[in-house]
Symmetry: C2
Subunit: 636 residues, 2 copies
């Protein structure tokens, strides 16, 4: 048979096409980097008006869904919007307190940003709102520069500045399609970060539950516990009793939701219920006289402008810059992940970069209309989805509810006892510590577990930003390690087939006489070139010692099918490997180099040096070719 | 035929072995990470005394070569040793001046460290000595804290401290086998860094050539040129004339070496010749009276101890720490690369980690015996190799020559004119700017060229450490980009074969009806999981639009042969991809998952979810399996 018997030249042809032009290769790389989802695919071959309309719909999604909006959809959105509004009021007040800013700012933040998101956002289910982790992060960072008790106005100004910076970063990342940065926050990091944040926020709430007056500005577990211990004389039994009672109510509602998912609305309105009960109680009982602090003054009226509050004073700017950067990353990672996971439930797609632009715009506009950082919190979004929302319009409904509250009802909430807010926050946070997920990581991937725990422990015992950076650092280290130590394996023939597979995985595979087949499974370049050389030479050394039949290796086949690219250091390493092996009378044969690798090997004259006849399209061809030259007489 | 006709169950068996234990997998990973060269391979099954001897020889290489040492080898080493000593004297004095420390320290540095290297070093050809780039780097960093003109003793102490730190870092990296860190300095970075350093060092030497008295402590091109311009009144024609004359002599010798490589020794001894001529001339002509500065006092005697000079004062420690860290990295990268490239010429192997230990020990001992940073400089090593050295003993010979010089001849060199030193440094540096290599990079790999130029321009116009970090940062960014945007390609059948190859590379390949075959060529994990999902869904969308025969995709085959590992985010993404495709009535089939991936897929129950019958060993098997279920009646 021709195919089995023939030497190299009769085997299947390898493509030695001239390399693509630099510009072609480069623009293809650029496209893969920034437009992996190819957003303009639909635009091809359309007329200009159609294109313009499509572009408008692409950049401003409201033009996509509003024209098809109808009464039936509206009824769904109305119900969902009211439900999330009832959640937004207690959450807004609570998280604002967590950020050490006036409670009304939390309400403002659920008025303007949802409107902006409704116009630019691409997720149907996402409900806009403030989140606990970012609230605490902003507070912890800005407190390093300004004490909110001593200079509340300056502190608030810096919070707005941080919000503006966060929005700008989100916008820039979205416009330049740098969603790739958010890719480096892995699920494991987020799980650990959320868990750690939830833990320290819970501990912080003990201040409110116990009714303490003095506390610590630090967020780590040790500081918080020792602050409680130091101020244990201030613990008020009235406050503690009420707090625990509220907590039990809230946890029961959560428990009910878990048992009967259809009753999710009970858990959704419980916080509002707790706030109302708390207000009534505080008003009738004159709670303040019994040592139960209340929210205090809450002015009527919608958001005042806050452009003049933005403060870029050199003396303080480092704090809002840091807070803005980290919250932007965390908020994006959380918001996009949440939007995406609900979209998948309905088999729809979310454009991460478009989401970033929407988040950026809503925070920029928010920062000049007295709002602080908002994103798409999980709890609110889940409620929105479960309440049956159909489009972004539910955010508009929530926004209108919030406007009415601000215009008419706000002063009523001034009686809200702080202990009720603490109970609400604590209850929300308890749900974010995902023990089972951490355990699952432990069972399935130890390194992911370490990354997760680094975030958790770092956040809990050092600080939120250190924990986050520690975890991301570890994850990137692992990524670099993957690069620096790529897997390579020895292949052998699976009996009765033309397949060559890893001998470790398929122990039954049979070696080919005088030939060693190695599979390289990664780009070869500077960070792993040295390792590759050592590893390949080691494979050869091993084989020479271990072949039973006294066979000496005469050919090393490198299966490059898995090598997606190669750089100059990589090519130089191949040259070195070839040199080292040829001295030992071992010939190097390449199998199936991919497009990019082949281009580089041609440009650097490597192919010319080893000869085109030493490059094969498949391992089988290569082995036939080698066999032929090992004992040509057999085939002649 | 069974094979073609059969459904999934008759195809070749995929291995669904139970996952390896965590400890097994982990220790195998550890070994690959830290012991890729498997240094203890020879130890297996040997008796204890043999093992002990081998271990001693492994850790202290002198025990390996000294027992077999003989007179013939010694004659070669003697000649080579004398030759490099003649180079070490002028280089030692010159580079010490470059580091702003007394000239005699440069001589000391060629006495103790070579002895240590001879004992612990594993490269036969490496010649130990000081290098220009590290000398300048130390000077530039320590000058930020202490002015060498105002407080020379403190300055010198900090130089010793930096040397100690550098040695400790090298030792630790070696002991913990962290050579992996040095892997991140690519050839392109080193080329750019060396070129940039050479350029600024050349410019610095204009001070000596012009005989200027005032100059700038900064190293960047702009500062240096403007300093020359500002002090142009001080330019002395006598100095300039002599400097240019020396430079011409040195360059002619270099030119001669390039034309007739056998005459390398002429170029090797020319610096010594220039120094001697300079000394005689300065002595006879009373050069100082004519405005030509000389080295000045050079005491007789070998290295005094300098342990008490080591200074860890908090006020200054940041500078030696920085200098120590960066010089350690650069010195290691240079020394190991050079040792390795000469070893390859003789088909021998260098153990990078062992080299680090040797470098570390020689700098630690050096720092307490009045030496400053040494490594394996290229020029000296090349001379050593060309002079025919056979073992590490040539370093011992050089060391003895240096001792004799220090004991008897040192005062003679006090007449060396600074202009001669400047000419020597300048001439050495001109050879380090590799235009042709940069051009080659430009032609073959644009991104490598950018990495190289970042180092060059950064060093030349900002500072040495910034340039280095910029370049390494870019290289790591590219590495992360490789991870974040791995290549994937559509495969199709090459006619008349069972091969499936990239359609972009092999345009003649033919699509399989109703089936899309995708090859994924990289680990799937958090940094690229999002991209992978987008990319795969995009492939499917494209195919649905482009298949001419109205075929709709019913199967997506994912060839995982190139996926060397997967993390939890990656598995979750596979689950999402499957979900998204199943909704569109497209089935996902996996082909040839590798060992580590299969383990993860089993542990996370993914295999169970999609069913074992959806996993195949080869694309051909998978297609047969799919065909069968597409139209079973054809096969029944």
């Amino acid at each position: 048979m021709m195919r089995v018997g023939g030497a190299g030249e009769t085997a299947h042809k390898v493509s030695f096409e001239a390399p693509r032009k630099f510009t072609t290769a480069f623009s293809s790389d650029l496209k893969e980097t920034f437009f992996p989802d190819d957003p303009f695919y639909d635009f091809k071959g359309k007329s200009f008006p159609v294109k313009a309309k499509k572009a408008l719909q692409y950049f401003v999604p409201i033009f996509q869904w509003l024209p098809n909006y109808n009464l039936k959809l509206f009824m769904y959105d109305l119900l969902a919007g009211i439900t999330i509004a009832s959640l937004a009021i207690p959450q807004g007040i609570s998280y604002a307190k967590l950020a050490n800013i006036p409670a009304v700012i939390g309400l403002y933040s659920s008025f303007v940003p949802p409107l902006i998101y409704a116009v630019f956002g691409s997720s149907k289910y996402l409900a806009v709102g403030t989140v606990a982790s970012s609230s605490l992060l902003i507070a912890a960072t800005i407190q390093t520069k300004v004490n909110p008790a001593q200079d509340p106005q300056l502190y608030l100004n810096l919070v707005f500045t941080a919000t503006l910076i966060s929005g700008l970063i989100e916008l820039v990342l979205g416009v330049f399609r740098l969603g790739i940065l958010v890719d480096f926050l892995s699920h494991s990091t987020i799980t650990g970060f959320m868990g750690g944040t939830a833990l320290i926020i819970c501990l912080q709430q003990l201040k409110g539950i116990f009714g303490l007056k003095h506390f610590t500005p630090h967020t780590d577990v040790i500081s918080v516990i020792s602050a409680i211990f130091k101020n244990r004389g201030e613990i008020r039994w009235e406050s503690t009793l009420i707090g625990v009672a509220f907590l039990i109510i809230l946890q029961l509602a959560r428990f009910l939701k878990q048992k009967k998912p259809k009753l999710f609305w009970v858990s959704a309105i419980t916080p509002m219920f707790v706030v109302i009960i708390g207000c009534v109680f505080a008003y009738l009982w004159h709670a303040e006289k019994h040592g139960i602090a209340i929210v205090g003054e809450l002015k009527k009226g919608i958001n005042p402008p806050s452009l003049k509050n933005i403060d870029f004073d050199r003396k303080y700017i480092s704090a809002p810059l840091r807070a803005g950067f980290i919250t932007a990353m965390v908020a994006l990672a959380e918001g996009i992940a949440i939007g995406r996971s609900f979209a998948i439930l309905q088999n729809e797609q979310i454009d991460g970069n478009k989401e970033m632009i929407a988040f950026g715009l809503m925070n920029i506009v928010g920062s000049v209309t007295s709002c602080y950082l908002t994103t798409g919190p999980f709890s609110k979004t889940a409620v929105n989805y479960n309440a049956g929302c159909k489009t972004q319009f539910s955010n508009v409904v929530m926004s209108i509810c919030m406007m009415l509250t601000l215009l008419f009802l706000a002063p009523l909430f001034s009686y809200t006892p702080l202990v009720a807010l603490s109970a609400i926050i604590m209850s929300a946070m308890l749900g974010l510590i995902e023990y089972d997920k951490a355990y699952h990581l432990f069972k399935t991937d130890k390194f992911d577990f370490i990354i997760c725990m680094a975030a958790f422990i770092g956040v809990a015992f050092i600080s939120m930003d250190v924990g986050l950076m520690l975890s991301v650092g570890l994850a990137i280290m692992r990524a670099l390690l993957y690069i620096a130590r790529p897997a390579s394996s020895k292949l052998a023939n699976i009996p009765d087939t033309s397949l060559y597979r890893d001998v470790e995985q398929y122990p039954g595979a049979i070696d080919i006489p005088k030939t060693l087949v190695l599979q390289i499974g990664s780009p070869i370049y500077f960070a792993n070139a040295g390792y590759m050389r050592e590893r390949i030479l080691r494979w050869v050394r091993y084989e020479k010692g271990n072949r039973l039949d006294g066979d000496d290796i005469e050919y090393v086949l490198l299966d490059l099918g898995g090598v997606s690219s190669i750089d100059m250091t990589g090519v130089e390493t191949l040259v070195e490997i070839r040199k080292s092996l040829e001295v030992k009378d071992i010939k190097v044969v390449l199998v199936n180099p991919r497009l990019e690798v082949m281009e580089k090997l041609i440009v650097t004259n490597f192919i010319e040096k080893i000869g085109k006849e030493r490059v094969y399209l498949s391992i089988e061809d290569a082995i036939d070719g080698c066999k032929f030259s090992l004992s040509p007489e057999r085939y002649l």
